[in-house]
């Protein structure tokens, strides 16, 4: 079904259309929420809250872009708000001003990893690093936009992202080395 027709039916209150829209985007959006939280339960809470916002504000959607991108933006914002007000994440959602030498070389690490494993690694990061990494590397926001969303400076966002990236590369390399050792151990 054409997405514009689907949106119109949803605005008319048709339950089947609303369920169809949900079925279409629930999976990908849960992945988005999963990356920002520490558990599947929290991810589903964010997903539920996000979709409620989607249906309540669907009349504001202007058919200029993809509905998926619009829903994704709502999910990201909902996830960040969820982290800010959730007691479990509040204490860890800090963005210290680190004076790190930001490396502009965005070289990709030579580690192959499944999407799920990478997502799990990202979720191992502290919430602050995790959020900024997701927003920059996955969602595609720039540091200025991230600074506005999180209420931090652009330089803080850059340094936090660099730190998060360095940590991830380190873990991925360790994992790869461990996998190789396991393979050798089995062969011996």
């Amino acid at each position: 079904m054409d997405q514009y027709v689907l949106v119109k039916d949803c605005l008319r209150g048709k339950r089947t259309a609303q369920k169809q829209l949900y079925d279409l985007f629930a999976g990908p959006m849960l992945s988005v929420c999963y990356r920002y939280t520490k558990s599947m339960a929290d991810a589903e809470d964010v997903l539920q809250e996000g979709f409620v916002k989607v249906f309540f504000n669907l009349h504001q959607y202007k058919s200029t872009g993809e509905i998926g991108a619009w829903i994704r933006r709502i999910m990201v914002t909902t996830a960040i708000n969820y982290l800010k007000r959730n007691a479990r994440y509040q204490s860890e959602l800090v963005f210290p001003e680190e004076h790190l030498h930001v490396v502009d070389n965005e070289a990709q690490p030579e580690v192959k990893m499944q999407a799920k494993e990478l997502a799990d690694l990202i979720r191992q990061l502290p919430p602050g690093y995790q959020t900024i990494f997701n927003l920059y590397a996955v969602e595609g926001y720039n540091h200025v936009e991230i600074g506005k969303m999180l209420g931090i400076q652009e330089s803080t966002s850059r340094s936090q992202y660099a730190r998060a990236r360095a940590l991830l590369i380190q873990w991925m390399e360790q994992k790869e080395n461990a996998d190789k050792r396991n393979v050798y151990a089995k062969l011996i």
Binding site: G13, R15, Q18, K19, Y22, A26, G27, P28, L30, S31, Y34, R35, K38, S39, M40, A41, A43, E44, L47, Q48, F51, V52, F55, F56, M113, Q114, A115, K116, E117, L118, A119, D120, L121, R123, Q124, V138, L167, Q170, W171, Q174, K175, A178, D179, N182
Partner: protein, 448 residues
Amino acid sequence: MEELKLVPSEPVWEKVEMQIRKEKDRRRALLWIPLFALVGAGLWLGIDKYAQRTAFKSPPPVKENHVGLPASESHAPVESFKANPKATSGNHLTIPKAGIENRRFTPGDVKRSSAKAIESSVAISKVPKVSVPASKETAVAESTENNNKNDKTEVIQGKESIPSIQPKTTQPSDSSKAAKPTISATTQPVKTDSTAVKAGPVKKYAISRQWKFNLVVASGWSGLGKVEFSNGQKSMNVYSSPPSGTSNGGTGQYSYYGPSAVEKGFAFTAGARAKKQLTKRTSFATGLLYDYYSNTIQVGSQVNQNTTLLSYPVSRFYYSAYQYYSGQTTVLQPYKNKYHFVTVPAEMDWQILKKHPLNLSFGLSFQYLVATNALRYDYNTQAYFHNISAFNRAQLMSGISMTYSVPLRKKPLSFGPQFQYGLTRLEKGNADNHLFSYGLKAQWQFKN
């Protein structure tokens, strides 16, 4: 990261849908407010015209020579008090002659107080959370729409607990599964905070004999009306005659100031009501309510002076007051009489139409005056005083109302106009002043 596709559990959509429906029901309920406001406004205009014909009005100004209140030496109407044991208080009424001057009696500059909009109170219910089913075990997901698209896609259902990993020293716990994606079923229950929905048999025609409890809120206008029988005819006009008797030598004219006209004031009701179905279309209701009535009169300035006021023409009542409001003046100020009642109603509800929830309620209410600041008019001194003993604290009120029910998840919300009239006199010994009120009523059934 686009490769990662997860599937949410079933209760997520149910919770989303519940939130959407809740908002929709709330918006639907709000649509009824203007409809009932229109109906209420129409009824209000009609009843207002009726009330204007039956309002408590002061008599036309009377200007008479040498007719007035007797001087303190001769209390012709007071003579009947002597037999009353209460009359031995020792205080004598003195009527200052200086206060009675040659003035033209002008009725109080009564202006209709500006009409306030009827506040329709809506008891909007908070729909309790619809319980969701307890979690069910998710099956192993081996083929879904997502999996068919991409071989590398992993589909995970249910919940997972992510193990905590020390990145520097240990490897991620699921590293052994890195070679090939394996899908495992998870059987952890989904976090819910409500009980499961129990679907029972639908009984359309069974009459429930249980008491159903409602929250009731009403607001509108109240006033004082009077029914007087004169030559077999009813009259709603106040008739108060000055005391008979001749003046004890005084010169000049004595003007008589009657009681002020009573203007309607705000009325409010709140409380709980219990209803029991008797037949398919009739039910009996009772409960406990708080009623507030008010009206406005025009009085003179406040006098702080110990005095004993006699209530004429019913002379057997003595009232003492440390302050009163002078009525012998043309310089008036508004005073709001407020009445606070506790009410126990006994009503019959009748569903007028078979297929539509339009109910007619009629019955009686027993009211007890808990507190009031209302003033009584003393014809002898032409003054207003406050004394709760001057009122009949036990009142019997008749009432009639019509409501329309809007179903809100088996807890209907009813709106409609109502009218009440007191069958008993409000004030002791005085002319027949009866409380009446009309307005809009709303009630919400919060418990079946």
